[in-house]
């Protein structure tokens, strides 16, 4: 994305200083007639169509050849019957059917409702985890002993399997009398804080020597150095961390729902459809599809925020 939307570097753009000096009012960005954005959107659509064709093509071949490569007798890695690989049309059709016999709402609107519950938990978790990450990074910037003492524990916290941690958090949440979604949010935050901490710390330390010496030459105090130089320098790094944290918080919320007895959320829905897989495999595929699309939308919303925050930088 960046390679096609950024302008050439200033060095290349201003081969002749004379030209630059005489055209002060030149527009900030020049776009070609067919924007790179349109090309990207078309490309994305083509990729999605190809993936769909691959799914259906593989299934058609398997059905025609009885899941064996003719002549060699090798078996297909994945069976192609309707139980293993429902038709795309069946998956999309399932979305328009009622979610259950007891309920007349369509599967699609049911999934959207549950997904919005999950995304809300993920968003709260992302905000809480990111705030913690930002604070930790700033503390670590100024305190070497704290950084060296705590960092191994933070790394350890992320290597312990989530399935072990999640029930603990749910139980602690339950004991303290908080509603179940609080524990789910806690699990999302638990996964989100780490990439934000690491990337923000890296970013806070990213100012070049000339920037730091200039800041010293104008007698910035520590607070000014942080707010006028280090934090602005860190922003691109912070957003890289936030993107990772956003995906992690969605995973955390979904896994959290499985452990918590919330009865709500897309994680819960996926678990239910997995349990009744043989009754309707296309429902599980539909749920996974909706969860995946929702995750993409969630992360892209963050990307929008990033583009807004970094709009004046030549890398943005």
């Amino acid at each position: 994305m960046t390679a096609t939307t950024t302008e050439p570097r200033p060095a290349g753009k201003h081969a002749s200083e004379q030209a630059a000096e005489t055209s002060p009012n030149r527009p900030r960005r020049q776009r070609p007639a067919i924007g790179p954005k349109l090309v990207n959107s078309l490309g994305a659509a083509v990729v999605i169509a190809l993936l769909g064709a691959l799914w259906e093509g593989y299934k058609a071949l398997g059905q025609a050849w009885d899941d064996k490569i003719p002549g060699l007798g090798w078996k297909f890695p994945v069976a192609t019957d309707d139980m293993s690989m429902p038709h795309l049309s069946a998956i999309f059709h399932a979305l328009t059917e009622p979610a259950s016999r007891a309920d007349s709402t369509t599967l699609f609107s049911y999934l959207i409702t549950e997904t919005s519950v999950t995304l809300r938990e993920a968003a709260y978790g992302l905000v809480a985890g990111s705030l913690l990450g930002l604070v930790l990074a700033t503390v670590f910037l100024y305190s070497g002993p704290l950084r060296k003492g705590l960092m191994p524990w933070l790394v350890a916290s992320q290597t312990v399997p989530l399935v072990a941690i999640a029930p603990m958090i749910v139980i602690w949440g339950g004991k303290s009398g908080a509603p179940p979604w609080v524990a789910v949010t806690g699990i999302a935050a638990y996964l989100a804080f780490f990439p934000v901490t690491i990337n923000t710390l890296r970013g806070l330390r990213s100012p070049s020597r000339v920037h730091l010496e200039f800041a010293r030459s104008i007698a910035t105090n520590r607070r000014q150095q942080l707010f006028l130089l280090r934090i602005p320098s860190a922003l691109p790094f912070v957003f890289a961390g936030l993107r990772l944290a956003a995906t992690a918080s969605v995973v955390g919320a979904i896994v959290g729902e499985l452990s918590a007895g919330t009865g709500r959320g897309i994680g819960r829905a996926i678990l239910t459809f997995a349990y009744y897989y043989s009754n309707g495999p296309e429902k599980l595929y539909a749920a996974v599809l909706v969860a995946a699309v929702a995750g993409i939308v969630f992360v892209e919303l963050l990307g929008l925020l990033e583009r807004l925050a970094l709009r004046h930088r030549h890398t943005a």
Partner: protein, 267 residues
């Protein structure tokens, strides 16, 4: 500007030494026993080969490095106090502008740090941009400017808090020859407009001769002052100055101070 003029030095360097890795087997003496007095309004160039300690000396003046011996006084204060009082502005070889701030907001930065109110610092920044003739680029961002223009913004930024001293560490070193000569002319105009004292580090002999009222020639290993040469070419100096026989005589004089008497040997 003549050397016989008697005024108290604005910058006084007394017996300054700087050793790196002192006490280890990697000890390097960057500066040894430097004495230097700079009077208000002078344009001083510190000239010498790479590794002669000219940048280290400038950094000691600016409180970006600490001498291991001797004392430095700026405006009668320690370098630290002078830095805290923003008595000097500094320009580096790289412009070092803040990418995320417009040109005007970059120039405002020293004033913002000093706690000057928004309206005043905006007015001052616009005045400074006029000084370096970049008013129409106030709303641009640094990456939209060429290297030479960025360096002019850096000069405006260094001067925005009205310092009495301007330190410049090879500020034109990254520019091509044409831009370099044009900026030298600009710099002399800015110097005469603002009446600041300039200490300018360079390794270009012709640059030092064209700009300076006095050239401090340094030699390497250990860094010492080899000569102090007054350049009595009259100001304002112009493109024509570069063609005068007196200019070439001065270049030759400085070159001899650097390398010794000319011979047929390759330098």
């Amino acid at each position: 500007m003549t050397t016989t003029e008697i005024s108290a030095p604005i910058i006084a360097v007394d017996g300054v030494s700087k050793r790196f890795n002192a006490g280890t087997d990697k000890e390097v003496t960057a500066l040894e026993n430097i004495d230097l007095a700079i009077r208000p309004g002078e344009f001083i160039s510190l000239l010498g080969p790479s590794g002669c300690g000219k940048s280290t000396l400038l950094r000691c003046l600016a409180d970006l490095a600490e001498p291991t011996g001797g004392t430095v006084t700026l405006n009668g204060k320690t370098p630290r106090a002078a830095r805290q009082d923003r008595d000097y502005g500094m320009v580096f070889q790289q412009a070092g502008l803040f990418d995320w701030r417009s040109v005007r907001r970059n120039v405002e930065l020293p004033l913002q740090v000093a706690g000057v109110d928004r309206a005043t610092r905006r007015e001052k920044a616009e005045e400074m941009l006029e000084l370096v003739r970049l008013s129409e680029f106030a709303r641009h961002y640094p990456w939209q400017l060429s290297g030479g223009m960025q360096q002019r913004v850096a000069i405006a930024r260094a001067l925005s808090a009205d310092p009495s001293i301007l330190f410049m560490d090879e500020p034109l070193g990254a520019l091509d020859e044409m831009n370099r000569e044009r900026l030298q002319g600009e710099l002399l105009r800015i110097w005469s407009d603002t009446q600041t004292t300039v200490v300018f580090v360079t390794h270009s002999i012709s640059e030092a001769v064209f700009l300076s009222s006095r050239i401090v020639v340094m030699s390497a290993r250990p860094g010492r002052i080899a000569a102090s040469i007054d350049v009595d070419l009259p100001y304002p100096r112009t493109a024509k100055t570069r063609t005068l026989p007196e200019f070439f005589d001065k270049v030759t004089e400085v070159r001899q101070a650097l390398y010794g008497a000319p011979s047929d040997q390759a330098v």
